[in-house]
Amino acid sequence: MTIKRSLLSVPLRLSTLLLVFLLSMSTQVYAVNPDVSDSEEAIAAGKSIFNANCRTCHRLDQKNIGPALRGVTDRHSIEWNKKFIRNSQAFIATGDAEAVAIYNEFNQLAMPAHEFLSDDDVMNLLSYIEYGDKADPAAAAAAGGVEGGQVGTGGGIPSEYLTIILAVLVIVLLLILVVLGLIISILTKYLSSQKLDEVDEEFVNQKFDFKKILRSDAFIIIMTTLVIAFVAKSGIDQLYTIGVQQGYAPAQPIAFSHQLHAGQYEVACQYCHTGVEIGKSANIPSANICMNCHAHIQNVGGKEGISTEIQKIYNAVDNNQPIEWVRIHNLPDLAYFNHAQHVAVGGLECQTCHGPIEEMEVVYQHSSLTMGWCIDCHRQTDIKSQGNEYYDKLVQLHSESKNALKVKDIGGLECAKCHY
């Protein structure tokens, strides 16, 4: 029994240890400064300030370009925080030891001044930093730890299991076939040793005439029809793929990773693609937008020196030589597409058409961009009419109908909406 108990005690102890470790990770013990309010309004106000000003470089619970912020009121006084947030460079220049230490720890990256923030703004911001968006710590840790891994689709059976199940099924079916074949041969053997009447004997000894079936008219007709249908179908399918570049993922002049920028660092799409809410084209960012961050960030993963890819941006700027990106999404000239209509007015997410862009190491064309694809979406998509006076009359006229007001209902399938 002792053996048994000792055997049991090992996993028990291990699990206890693990539990303690996990708990200690999640609730790193610190005391929030009591001056920081935990009211919902303060957190909400702080969140918008945070998203507008801080999010590009900071996360609450993760070290990013700048330090993880939660607990900052424990680590430093409120006054200290105010000074640092308002104008960190001036504060560092005063020689404050804590400030200088942080500055040096983060490769002497200068944090922009935020002198426009009032005292209340800063307190709200701190409220959000301390109390806002408390994610499941284990998940956060996991997400932080995985690098470039694929995120599971969640729910249902994972696809690799499906293949295994299918393979097992096929093997089982084959086995059944073999077993049935064996049974037939045993039975035939047994019957041939018995005395049978003529009909039965003929049945038992009959031969399978393959050639006869092959030569039969029905077979030839069926096969010819099938072949023609197959060739025609694949031919037509092939024609439909002309010019369709779904999955097109050309090598770009700079190995830019959306997974890193949009996924890991959660840089908002609009930060770089400035035209997406105002104009027809979303805009490939100009080099000066890259330089907003990359003036400071010269390498990835805390490595020393300048990364070869980032160096290419510097070269472009220094030589005034634009970066020649390879265009992935090519609509024919005869089709007019406007991003502002879809993003600013329609309120679509970028991912609706561009796919999981935040997971793409190399961007590929996610959708087919065929007219059928456009039209399908226009048939199914509801108009985002709430709060937009432009649609008032249309909504009113449509109110008798039971169905929601779709794009197709207001002329979204008409030729001259896209072709002119």
Binding site: G275, S286, I323, Y336, A340, A344, V345, I410, E414, A416
Partner: protein, 1026 residues
């Protein structure tokens, strides 16, 4: 059924029912040109060629799409966002031709010019030339840098060399056209002071007569300001003030105010025109009288005498001259003293002095004609220019600088200038291209295009405007003012010079803004700046007796000899922009001819000389003036005064560039400047000899007819209108189930519902003067191809909007005599015609592939990528507005010489990126500027509001200087178009109850139910007559 007794005809061949014309008229598309169907059927080689093509096409289609690049800026300018247009206020100016404009740029490229609504001069209007001027920026003929003797050099070397030469040249002359810019004038003065240079100004279309008369009678330097809007009676002696005279955009805007008529304001101005060649202005006149140029002086004198008699003042002695309508004009002028206006296009100072006397007699000074607020559109001094030419040839000129002018081509004594240039030590030109003059000088310092330049303008007393660069200079050119400042070692650049000038001269004229930078930014943003206090003193009226006796001596009551009157066309003007294919292909408002000038003759003369012109096929004539002669094709022009011929300026360029070279003949060299002014009328020693050479003039008027369908034009006289607002309207009825009903009551169609917008156009034929600005605006906006003369002859022009010009006469004509009478002085009506966007569109039902469909906003949509080119739609269109792409007009070397906007890399920069360039084999037509509608709707949606009336406008309506075309949403109860049409009921039905009596549909009885409404033409005539 036919209530209207007039016969309308588009050309003489239609009036006479010429059999050849009738044969072709029922075809939408003419037979194939002989080069394609000359041989019998397709040959074996053709078959092989087609085979080869199909194979190549199939294999090409199988290829992967080419790799395309997306190249962002390195450093994106803050206000340039790809796909979003920017607008900048600027100023168009070419010599004294002026318009304050707003330039639309896309990705830093100017692509469209619109009028500046803030301008008190042109008030948002533009002309065809202004619209087309954006293409000259991308002209391949532009010089790419400074040249010395044909060698390209650096600017520094150029300046050093030239400065030393100028210093030792001796007497220097700077020759220029009118300079409207005060700062440029200062820079030139600074230059002149250092080098002792004299500035000589001339104008190709000189108005020296008016300037000189203003000086004599009032002591005023400049032209008077005219206010056509304040005039109830307008009398014009051959002044084409709506087309080419002085400031036509401004005058058209003013004129249209007096021509707009409604039930609330059932009055309009009355307009008399006395002229030889039918001009755009004459075509709009209520009473037009053809006169000979030799009579014109006496006509003015006898008007003076008639008025003097009415006033009870002394008359002057003059030979009696019989001119129809002159007495009536005198009576009505007298009755409208203080609100009438008399103008003359004559360049004879004596005639203009009499004109001043007439306006003085009529108390018009200060109201319709204002000498206290002079305008400066023309400053050319013919006397001094003549003196310059004599000095040049006499060897008295050491150096000459041509500042953006081309007198070798456009001054009557150009040949002498060309000869004299070899006698000067230094010759310089700042011209942007190697034109007739620049190609003869030693130094060329090419100026920027106006869209690349800074400048200011002072077109009128107290009115200023600015121009600013809207694109970085495309080439290594330098603004001419900078050149002058550099040669004068002024040590400043022109931009600073200009700003300094504004700071010291204009900043203090206002007190609203205290910071100069702010004042400058505001002025630049608005494009215009007004100083209200400026006016110039007018001294007393001088005696006119000497002028009157000179006129009486010079002009004759009758002249047996044939006379030549030289005029300018609305499109080509003085010929500066002859290398612009949009202007060359724009059909002339009157003759509807493209790509040519010609000798206009009367029908009577044609009969006498047994010349018959049909569908552009004509013969040439040799015109002799003194010892000069030219050979030119003949155009039989209704309305041409018998005994006169007309010839347009601006053609016959030899160094304009590949588009303009060799088009037509040069009329400048026939002109006479020996009387001290350039005389555009030649009355003696003219010979016109008909040659046997045949020629074809490419006219657009003879095709696209309505096959005798009636009531396309509906008109009435003012008196009839005042009695009955629906006078002249034709109300067709059809017999249905025992009674006569309106055609719209019965229909095969279910009818459309337009739940959000219902776009439409309302076109006032009373305001439309036919100037054609809309046609060029449409061409620019919608990437419409230029096809060239041969293709126009093949009836394949691509214009989406055309202006149909109808002549009308009381009866048809079957005999020569009747034809002469009908064509002697017909009435003219202009009707802009574009896709009518029918609610029951005949084109939509016949398309086998549904490439033309109806939208939920009332638009008839044309989908090029779906069109397979059966042309059924065009055949079924009653308005003949659909165009077929017979060829690939873009990237095609066969059209590279004419369709420059779609063929060379430079020209393509002008294309509108929002509109597809059409491929071969598809139909195209007016889309009602759907790209503008879509973009306007998007702006409203993004801002979460309704579309406001006026924020979306079509290119044609925006360009119209007379606001004859109004675009808007007929579902919007507050829109201008709804009010114009008096639509009272709010409905989403396509069929709207239009209560405006004047509004009608062309060919209404077909019940195609167009969304384009026309307003009847009202003539201010006493009785209906032709």
């Amino acid at each position: 059924m036919k209530e209207n007794k007039k016969t309308y005809w588009k050309g003489l061949e239609e009036l006479t029912n010429d059999p050849e014309f009738v044969k072709n008229a029922d075809r939408e598309f003419p037979e194939m040109p002989s080069s394609l169907n000359g041989e019998e059927g397709p040959s074996r080689r053709d078959f092989l060629k087609l085979m080869g093509f199909s194979l190549a096409a199939a294999s090409l289609a199988a290829c992967e799409a080419p790799v395309r690049k997306a190249i962002p800026y390195v450093n994106k300018p803050v206000d340039i966002n790809p796909s979003i247009p920017n607008y900048y206020a600027s100023t168009f100016s070419s010599g004294g031709d002026y318009a304050s404009v707003v330039v639309k740029t896309r990705e830093g490229r100017p692509i469209k010019i619109d009028g500046n609504e803030l301008s008190p001069i042109n008030k948002g209007g533009v002309s065809a030339i202004v619209e087309a001027s954006v293409l000259t920026l991308y002209d391949r003929e532009r010089l790419t840098g400074p040249h010395i003797n044909g060698e390209k050099v650096e600017w520094s070397a150029f300046d050093a060399d030239l400065k030393s030469k100028l210093a030792s040249a001796g007497s220097i002359r700077v020759v220029s056209n009118t300079i409207l810019s005060p700062s440029t004038q200062q820079a030139l003065d600074q230059f002149s002071e250092i080098f002792g240079a004299e500035i000589v100004t001339y104008d190709p279309m000189s108005n020296f007569g008016i300037i000189s008369a203003a000086k004599t009678t009032y002591g005023v330097d400049g032209l008077p300001s005219y206010n056509f809007d304040k005039a109830s009676v307008i009398v014009s002696f051959a002044a084409d003030f709506l087309g080419t005279w002085i400031s036509p955009i401004e005058f058209a805007k003013q004129y249209s105010k007096g021509r707009k008529i409604s039930k609330e304001k059932p009055v309009m101005s009355r307009h008399f025109q006395f002229e030889s060649t039918l001009s755009l202005t004459g075509a709009n006149a209520d009473y037009r009288t053809p006169i000979k140029p030799s009579q014109s002086g006496l006509a003015v004198l006898s008007l003076y005498n008639a008025l003097a008699k009415l006033a009870g003042g002394p008359t002057v002695s003059a030979a009696a001259v019989e001119i129809e309508n002159l007495d009536r004009a005198a009576k009505e002028l007298w009755a409208n003293r203080g609100k009438s206006l008399v103008v003359s296009g004559s360049n004879d100072p004596n005639v203009q002095i009499v004109i001043n006397a007439i306006n003085d007699l009529l108390q018009n000074n200060g109201t319709t004609v204002d000498f206290s607020k002079p305008s400066y559109f023309r400053k050319g001094d013919d006397t001094r220019m003549n003196q310059f030419v004599s000095d040049l040839n006499g060897g008295r000129v050491g150096g000459v600088i041509f500042y953006n002018c081309n007198p070798v081509y456009d001054f009557p004594r150009g040949a002498e200038i060309a000869e004299g240039l070899s006698k000067v030590k230094v010759s310089v030109a700042t011209n942007g291209t190697k034109d007739e003059t620049a190609s003869l000088v030693q130094y060329i310092a090419p100026d920027h295009h106006y869209l690349e330049s800074w400048n200011d303008f002072n077109p009128k007393t107290g009115e200023y405007s600015l121009s600013q660069p809207v694109i970085s200079p495309l080439f290594d050119t330098r603004q001419a003012q900078d050149s002058f400042l550099a040669w004068a070692d002024a040590g400043t650049n022109y931009y600073d010079f200009l700003q300094g000038n504004w700071e010291s001269n204009f900043f203090a004229t206002q007190s609203e803004i205290t910071n100069f930078q702010e004042f400058w930014d505001r002025s630049l943003f608005n494009g215009v700046y007004s100083v209200s206090s400026e006016s110039s003193a007018v001294t007393g009226f001088a005696d006119i007796s000497s002028a009157a006796s000179a006129v009486a001596k010079t002009y004759k009551a009758s002249n047996d000899q044939i006379e030549l009157s030289v005029y300018a066309k609305v499109g080509i003007g003085n010929g500066t922009f002859a290398n612009n294919p949009w202007l060359q292909e724009m059909s002339d408002p009157i003759s509807k001819a493209t790509w040519d000038n010609y000798l206009t003759v009367s029908q009577k003369w044609a009969h006498e000389n047994e010349l018959k012109m049909s569908e552009g096929a004509t013969r040439k004539a040799k015109v002799t003036v003194g010892n000069k002669s030219i050979v030119v094709p003949i155009m039989v022009q209704p309305g041409q005064a018998y005994g006169t011929v007309g010839l347009a300026l601006g053609y016959g360029r030899t160094n304009a560039g590949r588009v303009g070279n060799g088009v037509g003949v040069n009329a400048y060299e026939l002109l006479d400047s020996s009387k001290g002014f350039v005389d555009f009328n030649l009355t003696e020693n003219i010979g016109v000899e008909l040659l046997s050479d045949t020629y074809k003039i490419a006219q657009t008027q003879t095709h696209e007819t309505y096959m005798g369908r009636e009531f396309v034009i509906q008109e009435a006289t003012l008196g009839e209108y005042q009695k009955n607002a629906s006078a002249g309207r034709h109300h067709p009825e059809v017999y249905f189930e025992g009674e006569f009903v309106k055609p719209s009551k019965i229909s095969l169609w279910k009818g459309h519902q337009y739940s959000q917008h219902h776009w439409g156009l309302a076109i006032d034929m009373n305001s439309c003067i036919g100037c054609g600005a809309c046609t060029v605006a449409c061409q620019v906006e919608n990437n419409v191809a230029v096809v060239g003369k041969q293709e126009v002859l093949n009836r394949r022009e691509m214009a989406w909007i055309r202006i149909d010009r109808y002549y009308s006469s009381p009866e048809g004509a079957s005999s020569n005599k009747e034809l002469e009478v009908a064509a002697e002085n017909p009435e003219v009506t202009f009707q802009p015609m574009m896709c009518q966007h029918c609610n029951n569109a005949p084109c939509e039902t016949v398309c086998p592939v549904a490439a033309t469909t109806h939208s939920s906003e009332g638009l008839n949509q044309m989908t090029y990528n779906r069109c397979i080119g059966t042309r059924y739609c065009a055949n079924n269109c009653p308005y003949k507005v659909r165009r077929f792409n017979w060829f690939k007009y873009h990237d095609n070397k066969d059209f590279a010489a004419v369709n420059v906007a779609q063929n060379d890399d430079m020209g393509k920069m002008v294309l509108n990126p929002d509109v597809t360039v059409r491929a071969r084999g598809v139909i195209e037509k007016c889309s009602m500027c759907v790209q503008r509608i879509q973009s306007g709707k998007l702006t409203a949606k993004r801002e979460g509001r309704k579309v406001q009336d006026g924020e979306i406008n079509t290119a044609c309506a925006a360009a119209c200087p007379t606001d004859a075309i109004v675009f808007g949403d007929m579902n919007d109860t507050s829109s201008k178009i709804t009010k114009m049409l008096k639509i009272q009921e709010e409905t989403i039905s396509a069929l709207k109850e239009v209560n405006e009596e004047r509004a009608y549909h062309v060919i209404e009885y077909l019940n195609v139910s167009p969304n384009v409404w026309y307003f009847t033409k009202i003539r201010n005539k006493d009785k209906s007559e032709a």
